[in-house]
Symmetry: C2
């Protein structure tokens, strides 16, 4: 078994702004694991907010490599070998091991997991922060998507959302990225509900859990946790504060933990959404293979980049379509 | 895909007594699913306490058969087709579909699930209720096991346990099968702790959860839930009342739900044990494939019957050993 990694510079189609900052490029890391003549692929999209970057992820993969003894033990191998705090590196190794295992068994990953590929949900398309005029332009370009997710956090939030609603009848979700305080939150929820928004993602900071719980008591809209939830063990204390969770492979460390999170959320009667960072089709496709199990998907990361180096899961009429090749089923473009 | 079922009469080596009753024979049901020239095997051990018997299980399998459209969707197919309240039938269909899937992929079930077969735990051997003399005789015959699980519920409990401890140094666990009341429970825990017992299974009835929670506050021994826990959704409310859960395929409806239960228990910081009813090596082996994920196993069901019609998982020096044939890896004896 040979483990290696290669930098991936992903240029974005448009500058991407959320409440915490803006970017034109993502510095991801591709992980390759070779075993018995097969190549398993993984991808790390390091999360700066949690102290990760491409360099720390690469170091973590190097540290994990000698600890990976048997690629067949994909359910536990990446977690057992993981470097503390480097979840995107763990996710990359984990997805490469799942890719290898399903290739070895000769089936697509969804089939190795016993899932029904016809049950994939629609995916939302994310509209970053911008002026109402630019947002409206982006919404017009996104007419092929079945749902839009609009980032909140500018002074113009209400004008932006109203302009979006005037432009399209598509279902809308909003992501506050921890940007709200209790003050003004109730009136904000009222006008969002009036615009027919489906749910609000992470209205307040992760460390304001009791404020979120209090706000939800009278909220006309459901709340989904994002920054408040990293792994399965985080979920029990969120019951009652959130109606659902947003699972991202880069937060939780891979497909195995994502499956466990789905189980824990369901046991607490919570909804489940699969989200992403800005990622190529390697990581997006890995997450998409789990999507028959979830209620909502926001797996548009690869659509936001200018030149996706891989083909994998696609979006047809807004719905995720899984590749039926063995493993993750991703192939380098132009091959 | 062809689904059929065959009665299995399993004669016991010894009359088996627990707090609720006694039996000399188990009336189980074998389920066979044929698809593409392969045969998947499952087994239902109906639980009388929950209104199941072999006839109701057989009817449930008949009702499920036409609803099973695609054997590849093993993660959800049995649950989607299930008949309400007939969990052992659901478990039988679920394990047959897992057997078929892993055979199709050409790997043992543990490998399809990415698990490490060297991580199986030891399994306990269960000593049913009897006079101290008979119990001591049974303990002597069980010297090959690494752990003993002793059933409580007779007037002689203390004499029985003391006689067992005088006979062997093997680690001991006890199963009260809901037999205690709060009265006398603290002193009972004190002498059990003094005898070095590891934990107590289901000390009080499932409907006395608050009494169990109160008792646990000052208990020197951990509590495992059995009758209090059927499926993953039961687990959150047990946190704080029990230290661990006993998962049985016949209670939860199959391998998929068992995996979800493990995830939920772990998220709540609880321990996990895999248990069984009196079952042949079909159902015991299915559960054993999950055992690399758990802390404790009580998978001795097939050892208690006089003539196990199948070979599957074995017990070597007390530890579970998984077959490395494709699928469940069980084969009819004498073939």
């Amino acid at each position: 078994m040979k483990v290696s990694h290669v930098p991936m510079d992903l240029r974005l189609k448009h500058t991407f702004r959320i409440a915490r900052g803006a970017s034109d490029e993502r510095r991801n890391l591709r992980v390759e694991i070779e075993d018995a003549g097969r190549l398993g692929l993984g991808e790390a999209a390091p999360i700066l907010r949690y102290g990760e970057d491409r360099e720390s992820a690469a170091k973590a993969v190097d540290a994990m490599a000698p600890r990976l003894r048997d690629p067949r033990r994909f359910a536990t191998a990446a977690a057992d070998a993981a470097v503390a705090g480097q979840h995107s590196a763990q996710a990359a190794v984990d997805m490469a091991l799942h890719d290898l295992a399903a290739q070895r068994m000769g089936v697509p990953l969804y089939e190795m997991l016993g899932l029904d590929p016809s049950r994939t949900p629609v995916t939302s398309f994310t509209i970053g922060l911008d002026t109402p005029e630019v947002v409206v332009q982006k919404v017009k370009e996104a007419s092929a998507y079945a749902v839009l997710k609009v980032k909140m956090g500018s002074d113009d939030d209400r004008a932006v959302l109203e302009a979006v609603r005037d432009t399209t009848d598509q279902p809308l979700r909003v992501d506050a990225n921890e940007g709200w305080t209790l003050e003004g939150a109730e009136s904000r929820l009222a006008w969002l509900a009036k615009l027919g928004v489906e749910f609000v993602e992470q209205p307040m900071p992760a460390d304001r859990l009791e404020d979120i719980r209090a706000l939800r008591k009278h909220s006309p809209l459901p709340f989904y946790a994002d920054e408040s939830v990293h792994n399965a063990a985080d979920i029990p204390r969120l019951a009652g504060a959130f109606d659902g969770i947003n699972i991202k492979l880069m937060k939780c460390g891979g497909l195995g933990e994502a499956l466990r999170m789905i189980a824990v959320a369901r046991a607490h009667g919570m909804k489940v959404m699969l989200g992403c960072m800005i990622e190529s089709s390697i990581a997006i496709t890995a997450a998409a293979h789990l999507s028959p199990l979830v209620d909502a998907a926001d797996l548009d990361g690869s659509v936001l980049i200018a030149e996706d180096p891989y083909d994998g899961a696609t979006i047809v009429d807004g719905k995720l379509v899984l590749p039926d090749r063995p493993g993750l089923g991703v192939v380098a473009r132009g091959r």
